[in-house]
């Protein structure tokens, strides 16, 4: 590990680092140990509280609620990406009639809390006479409006960061403005902005948990339900622990897939570059 912030440790610094390591380990283990001890003392690890997770029906329902979370995530992610691209194109258009509404759309929906957005759809619209609003619809619409606006800014920043020559070359070979955007600028912008897009996808996955507050039956909702089962010792803490493990697992899998895609994409670019180099 080389860092510019500190010198390569000499003998004195090495001893100090050992002390620091030991001290950190003691503090961290102390905190974890204290939490575990409290969990143990208050009976969170008793078989009674974990028994409910051994039932096949409960496990099956867990799979179902994971499916519900993933469904909201998938629809929300695809919708946000599409809306983001459309809004980015709108903001880059020369027409004022497209440009300004798209600007206000992204600014407005980024400023409203996502939960309030979901509440407006779920509680507000039916009271204003809009029929057929389900919790799923409210979650997905909220996710798409908010994250679509965020992604629009990401795409726009990506497109504007590209060298001017890309656009000019496109026009020079006779492509229309739309074709240049779609075929030349967007693919490069997506590649340049991939890390940001991926972290936004993780945000979408995490934000599906807001559905719990508007009664969408997803992982956290079910964990809360299990926690209220008095006959099994109200296993609130165990249920939340299981939910946390599932969420962290899903997010890590998503980041893992994204990293894989990223390395594939960047290696493809390298291949192209070497070929160009050989031809030259």
């Amino acid at each position: 590990m080389s860092s510019v912030l500190f010198d390569v440790p000499g003998p004195k610094a090495r001893t100090r680092n050992v002390y620091l390591n030991v001290a950190t380990a003691i503090v961290v283990l102390g905190i974890i140990g204290f939490i575990m001890f409290r969990f143990y003392q208050s009976g969170q690890f008793t078989a009674e509280k974990w028994q409910i997770f051994t039932f096949p029906l409960v496990q099956q329902t867990f799979l179902e609620v994971i499916g519900a979370t993933l469904k909201a995530f998938a629809v929300g992610a695809v919708g946000s990406l599409l809306l983001g691209i459309l809004l980015a194109f709108g903001r880059l258009s020369d027409s004022k009639w497209l440009n300004i509404p798209c600007y206000w759309f992204t600014e407005l929906f980024r400023a409203v809390p996502l939960l309030v957005l979901m509440m407006i759809v779920y509680y507000g619209l039916p009271s204003a006479g809009v029929p057929g609003i389900t919790p799923f619809l409210a979650v997905v619409v909220g996710l798409i409006l908010y994250n679509g606006s965020v992604l629009a800014e990401v795409f726009r920043a990506g497109i504007e960061s590209l060298p001017k020559g890309q656009r000019e070359a496109g026009y020079a070979v006779g492509l229309t403005k739309g074709q240049v955007l779609r075929m030349i600028l967007l693919p490069q912008a997506v590649r340049a902005m991939l890390p940001v897009i991926i972290s936004q996808l993780v945000v979408i996955l995490k934000d599906t948990a807001l559905g719990f507050l508007i009664t969408y039956h997803e992982i956290l909702y079910y964990a809360d339900f299990l926690g209220s089962q008095g006959g099994y010792g109200s296993p609130v803490v165990p249920a939340l622990m299981v939910a946390a493990v599932i969420y962290v697992g899903l997010c890590l899998i998503l980041s893992g897939i994204a990293k894989l895609a990223e390395s594939k994409m960047s290696s493809r670019v390298k291949v192209v570059k070497t070929r160009v180099g050989m031809a030259g």
Binding site: F6, P9, P113, V202, L240
Partner: protein, 216 residues
């Protein structure tokens, strides 16, 4: 318009509590985030590992789940009881601190290498290099991302409404109890957030960004 004047005390209490949640959690998140950022660049491997573990674990957990733990799980542990407000402050601080940490860490990376090399050359140890030379410059360059983090925190406070805190996000539930129409109430809440974010936070961000810009 009637709905906000008829229920002014509800809106006032709600947004007052939102403000309290925001300021106190923001304060603690800033301190904790800076400490964790310092740990993540420190010479001791155990400190780096602890910081990385904390950031990765908390950033991959939904805020709703963290707040649920402090509001629903914590009272079961037989520890001294805390109010729902304080539980929400703890949850929001722990969650936001990870984002503050990552913003500051990226700021540390933007400070040019020569700065910390010069600091080392005149014999400053790690803590002094970080606190006297690198961090003051890093903070200036992370004003925009840090403000985004705090705007996100302001919006995230509404999640606490799901866990028995009377703040802006909970106004809807109280309105429906009083038999008021929910859509206008919710739209007012949304409008106030838009005004605060676009009318106060964003201009402040631009102003500070300009004022503290580092000449390079």
């Amino acid at each position: 318009m009637n709905i906000i004047t008829d229920n002014s005390e509800l809106f006032l209490t709600g947004f007052k509590n939102t403000g309290i949640l925001f300021i106190i959690s923001g304060f603690f998140a800033l301190i904790l985030g800076t400490i964790v950022a310092g740990m993540r660049v420190s010479p001791a491997p155990a400190m780096r590992a602890a910081g990385t573990f904390y950031v990765n674990a908390v950033r991959n957990t939904p805020l709703t789940l963290i707040l649920a733990f402090f509001a629903l799980g914590y009272p079961r542990l037989g520890l001294p009881s805390v109010s729902f407000m304080n539980a929400a402050i703890v949850g929001l601080s722990l969650y936001t601190a990870t984002y503050v940490c990552e913003a500051i860490r990226s700021g540390i990376n933007t400070v040019s290498v020569g700065q910390s090399e010069a600091a080392r050359a005149i014999g400053l140890p790690f803590m002094k290099t970080l606190s006297l030379v690198v961090l003051p410059q890093a903070f200036r360059s992370v004003v925009p991302p840090l403000f985004s983090v705090f705007i996100a925190l302001l919006k995230n406070t509404t999640v606490a409404a799901g866990f028995s805190v009377l703040e802006a996000g909970a106004i809807r539930a109280y309105l429906s109890e009083r038999g008021e129409p929910m859509l206008p109430g919710l739209l007012w809440v949304a409008l106030i957030f838009v005004v605060v974010v676009l009318g106060i936070m964003t201009p402040l961000q631009r102003y500070l960004e300009k004022k503290w810009r580092v000449a390079r």
